[in-house]
């Protein structure tokens, strides 16, 4: 892969080039001080050295609440997809990996139309990152699943195009790349203790941590809401006063009692059951994705948990106890 | 032979009330006004709560007046604790109050009073007989609601106005949107007066003693209540001038101000010479003779003028806030000492007084709320009697309709009225 050098001073001009490919969105902060991906109107809004946003980029592909269908006179119709082309700039490798996982889920068999339409209009530009205490991803420099990637180096960035769209960006920004000697990447200090897929039997370990977590978890749902690879959803239908109505899809959460409930029974009646379910989904995977961990090590769930639950603590403790 | 005519429940007003007319033959002996709302006991509930909780709790006295209750409570607590707020905060509160006035007057005039003028039972028939007016009323009310929603964070029981400042600064985009909506609604607002300029043709009523806050250009700074040219008192001394008594047939206490049954509200405010916005002032001047020196029947017209005034003021305030631009806002102020604080505001239906004592630990030890409807209760009862006497011999249905209509002139808010301070 060819790499070109972009001097830090050229960043603003580079952003202008990116706008050619869609509305520019990137890491910034809200008035209240929350890190978020949002439209970048002026380069000063960009926080390129951000740690992690509260809500991962999944919101661009799977909005918290979206209209799935509308109906009138008993006939259902799909809404027109209205999201404009967007360039999502400065995604960390963990978030890119998160999108890659969602792609596996939503672009496979029975492709999800809304997801697919939005995904097709998204240009992803990744950037290398500096991990903090919460991070534990394993493939920090992986530039997979993006159109282009920037690797931070002294006084600038190394640009590499990954897809044809990335090449097009390279072409558009060609005159910004410096021809001087390319500095070597600064090696990022990654803990590199990514989460490997776990043994599904671990979830029935009787390690006391399970019960402790189940007792202290407040079921606020923050961990799933903020996880780049949590995608469970609920579907509800609302009639309107004029006789029509809408069917919506909304992020659901395996921590809620209703998640496994059917008429006359609940297959995950206790919070402990639901915690085990989360473990299974995150670290062991379901059906076609069995054996693949969906945790990309972004550290959000721990950062947002009001009681500081960290399931990894549990693996290390339980694994020790389970090995003979 | 004695008989009793009862209007129960009173309709098209907020809260639970009824009226009994005691007749001896055709002669009206007496009239009882029952404000029978369940006791709400807020003054007692507030005791033992922290100063910071007081405004959040007390606004639940009444939904129609929640904004003004909240602002008054904030001012009173801030007065007690010596907390100062920024200009932006003050302006924002004022904007909220004007929005509330637009919303509340529109609701009252279009949906509660208008049916009387058109001879229908209420909002449902109104939609059938005068859909255009309904639409107009809703459009006007909506701007008021939009202000509450955008600025207050919620239409009823607003959250974004709080001790010492604001939760969130209103963005330029939101302010611009408000400005545009207000501009769009202004013509309709100026139109309201036309609908309510014909006073209803019942016998003349006693001349009211009007009580209102002394008008100032910064209304939230007003600290004096005026009863007449030469009779006024400082808000902080209200206890010396307002006396309350409990009536056997009412859960609201009757208040007398400086010994008289005062009348508060829109008409009272106009009598004390406020500085109205340009457009509203023009209309006021044109209708002056129908209002000044007249009885309570002019109150609905006065409300219509105020509605326009509030909309114009809201627009000015939005423009001023846009000029000020966004800036850092103080969070919740922390109480450093206790004290007693009192504040009064003009609610859509008249003067509202809150007073609190906070101890050094920040706990509320005493709470008083004097509401406009409690203040108006005496005058209302007096006018009801006068009207009933003036209509002696009339058909019962005509009389009860007139009595109900008279009550709607006062725009009472009964939920509010059942809060009063310890006797």
């Amino acid at each position: 892969m060819e790499k070109s050098f972009l001097e830090a001073t050229q960043l603003s001009s580079f952003l202008e080039k990116l706008r050619l490919f869609g509305e520019l969105h990137g890491p910034t902060v809200t008035d209240a001080g929350v890190a978020t991906f949002a439209p970048i109107a002026a380069p000063s809004q960009l926080r390129i050295n951000y740690r992690r946003t509260q809500i991962p980029p999944k919101k661009y592909l799977l909005p918290f609440r979206e209209q799935l269908l509308s109906y009138r006179d008993g006939r259902y119709a799909e809404p027109a997809e209205t999201q404009p082309p967007i360039v999502l700039f400065a995604l960390h490798p963990c978030d890119l990996a998160g999108i890659a996982y969602l792609d596996l889920v939503f672009l496979g068999d029975n492709t999800d139309p809304g997801y697919a339409a939005r995904r097709a209009r998204l240009t992803l530009v990744g950037i290398s990152c500096e991990p903090d205490d919460f991070c534990f991803c394993s493939a920090p420099d992986s530039a997979a699943n993006c159109d282009a990637f920037l690797t931070a180096v002294k006084s600038g960035y190394l640009f590499s195009a990954v897809t044809a769209r990335g090449e097009a960006i390279a072409a558009a920004a060609a005159d910004l790349f410096s021809t001087t000697e390319v500095p070597q990447p600064v090696a990022a200090q990654h803990p590199g203790t990514g989460v490997a897929p776990q043994g599904p039997e671990l979830r029935f370990s009787d390690n006391p941590l399970w019960q402790k977590f189940a007792d202290t978890c407040v079921s606020c749902g923050a961990c799933s809401v903020c996880c780049p690879t949590c995608y469970c959803f609920d579907v509800r239908e609302y009639p309107a006063l004029d006789g029509g109505g809408v069917r919506i899809r909304e992020w659901d959460n395996c921590f809620f009692a209703t998640h496994g409930e059917v008429a006359g029974a609940n297959f995950r009646p206790t919070r402990l059951d639901r915690l085990r379910y989360r473990f299974l989904h995150k670290y062991c995977g379901f059906t076609p994705l069995q054996g693949i961990t969906s945790c990309v090590g972004c550290g959000r769930c721990k950062a947002v948990c009001p009681v500081g639950i960290d399931l990894r603590e549990l693996f290390s403790a339980a694994r020790g106890e389970m090995s003979p | 032979m004695g008989s009793v005519v009862e209007i129960n429940p009173l309709t098209r007003l907020e809260g639970h009330g009824s009226v009994k007319v005691f007749l001896d033959g055709a002669r009206v002996e007496r009239v009882e006004l029952h404000l029978s709302e369940s006791p709400r006991l807020f003054e007692a509930l507030l005791v033992g709560k922290s100063y910071a909780e007081v405004p959040d709790i007390v606004c639940r006295i009444c939904s129609l007046c929640s904004t003004v209750h909240k602002v008054t409570a904030l001012l009173a607590v801030e007065d007690a604790l010596g907390i100062e707020v920024s200009e932006r905060t003050s302006l924002t509160r004022e904007l909220m109050l004007n929005g509330a006035t637009v919303q509340d007057h529109a609701l009252h005039l279009y949906f509660l009073v208008l049916p009387d003028l058109l001879g229908v039972q209420g909002v449902a028939e109104l939609a059938g007989t005068a859909p255009e007016l309904v639409k107009q009323g809703l459009a006007i009310k909506k701007v008021g609601s939009l202000i509450q929603e955008t600025v207050g964070g919620r239409l009823i029981h607003p959250v974004n106005i709080r001790l010492g400042g604001l939760g969130r600064v209103i963005s330029k985009h939101e302010l611009t949107q408000l400005r545009d909506e207000l501009r769009r609604a202004l013509p309709a607002c100026s139109d309201v007066c036309r609908l309510f300029s014909t006073p209803f043709p019942f016998p003349k009523l006693p001349e009211p003693a009007f009580l209102a806050l002394e008008p100032l250009s910064a209304p939230l700074a007003s600290r004096r209540l005026r009863l007449s040219r030469d009779r006024s008192f400082a808000v902080g001394e209200y206890r010396e001038h307002v006396a309350e008594t409990l009536l056997p047939h009412s859960n609201a206490k009757l208040s007398k101000v400086m010994g008289v049954e005062a009348t508060v509200g829109a008409l009272a405010r106009l009598h004390h010479g406020p500085t109205l916005s340009e457009g509203a002032d023009e209309i006021f001047k044109a209708h002056r003779h129908e209002l000044i020196g007249k009885d309570i029947r002019g109150n609905n017209l006065a409300q219509a003028i105020e509605l326009y005034d509030a909309a114009e003021r809201a627009l000015q305030l939005v423009e001023r806030l846009l000029e000020l631009g966004p800036g850092p806002e103080a969070g919740v102020a922390v109480a450093s000492r206790g004290g007693t604080g009192t504040a009064a505001c003009e609610a859509p239906r008249g003067v509202l007084i809150h007073s609190y004592t906070i101890d050094d630990a920040g706990i509320c030890t005493q709470a008083d709320v004097i509401t406009p409807t409690a203040l108006n209760q005496g005058a209302m009862a007096r006018d009801l009697l006068a009207l009933a006497r003036g209509m002696e011999g009339e058909e019962t249905a005509r009389m009860t309709a007139a009595l109900e209509r008279l009550i709607r002139c006062y725009d009472p808010c009964i939920s509010c009225s059942v809060h009063t301070f310890p006797l």
């Binding site: 001080g33 918290f64 239908e237 | 939609a127 809703l138 909506k142």
Partner: protein, 252 residues
């Protein structure tokens, strides 16, 4: 078209729930066209509370014999009884001191110790007296939920239920977590969502106006707040603001 027959009334309350309906400016014309407001004293004269109604939306706590009388009469006259708002569902602000101070004392504080105090007992939710078919939470309720209910009634059903806490919507809106980042007394984790985290979105803690979420881990919320330095008394006071009688040991 047969109109759906409604009763809308209030017991001990601020009228905010009823007003919320009148505040649906955009939807009101449609509502007036499709519903018959048989009994709605706040906006209609000449109504009859005898019904029959398809649904009665009743706000307020039950705190006087008159309240109880009205509640029974509307329950009997209506196919569906809707506890309209937090007071009706949990007691609301009127009930905040239940189990803490005697009603009589409170009455005396306000009305003085005279022989004929107004008749009043500790404010209670509808569920203590009658069966309730649907509950709209909130003080005041969200317009959307009111419209949702009305539209569902037209469709012959009730709205689908949501059951997530305020935090879920709060996080999804990318608000700053006031509990974690500012150490404020936010009740979001144990309160039923559906308000789109209205208060935290303006930088103000959730005061719990929508009542408990289905699986509130009350014991943990309490612990969490104690750890953050709030006194037990203050926490209880805040939690009781809209619903008295929490089970502080509940972890379910």
């Amino acid at each position: 078209m047969k109109l759906v027959r409604l009763a809308i009334a209030g017991l001990t309350a601020c009228s905010g729930c009823q007003l919320t309906l009148l505040n649906c400016e955009a939807e009101l014309p449609d509502v007036l066209q499709r519903f018959e407001l048989v009994y709605f004293p706040m906006a209609q004269s000449g109504g009859r509370r005898e019904g029959p109604f398809d649904a009665a939306l009743v706000e307020g706590a039950v705190s006087t014999p008159a309240d109880l009388d009205m509640l029974f009469s509307l329950r009997n006259a209506s196919r569906l009884l809707v506890a309209y708002g937090t007071c009706a569902a949990f007691g609301g602000v009127a009930a905040m001191n239940n189990g803490q101070s005697q009603r009589q004392e409170l009455l005396q504080t306000v009305y003085g110790s005279q022989p004929s105090l107004p008749e009043s007992f500790a404010p209670a939710p509808f569920g203590n007296f009658v069966s309730v078919d649907w509950t709209i939470r909130g003080c005041p309720p969200e317009k959307e939920e009111v419209v949702e209910l009305l539209a569902a009634l037209l469709a012959g059903t009730l709205p689908p239920v949501r059951s997530y806490p305020v935090c879920t919507e709060c996080r999804s809106r990318e608000n700053l977590c006031l509990l974690m980042e500012k150490g404020e007394l936010c009740l979001g984790p144990v309160i039923q969502g559906g308000c789109n985290a209205r208060c935290p979105a303006t930088g103000i803690v959730c005061e719990g106006c929508r009542g408990p979420v289905r699986e509130a881990n009350v014991a943990q919320e309490l612990e969490l707040l104690l750890e953050r330095g709030f006194g037990r008394e203050e926490i209880e006071r805040r939690m009781n603001r809209f619903k008295p009688g929490w089970d502080y040991g509940q972890r379910r």
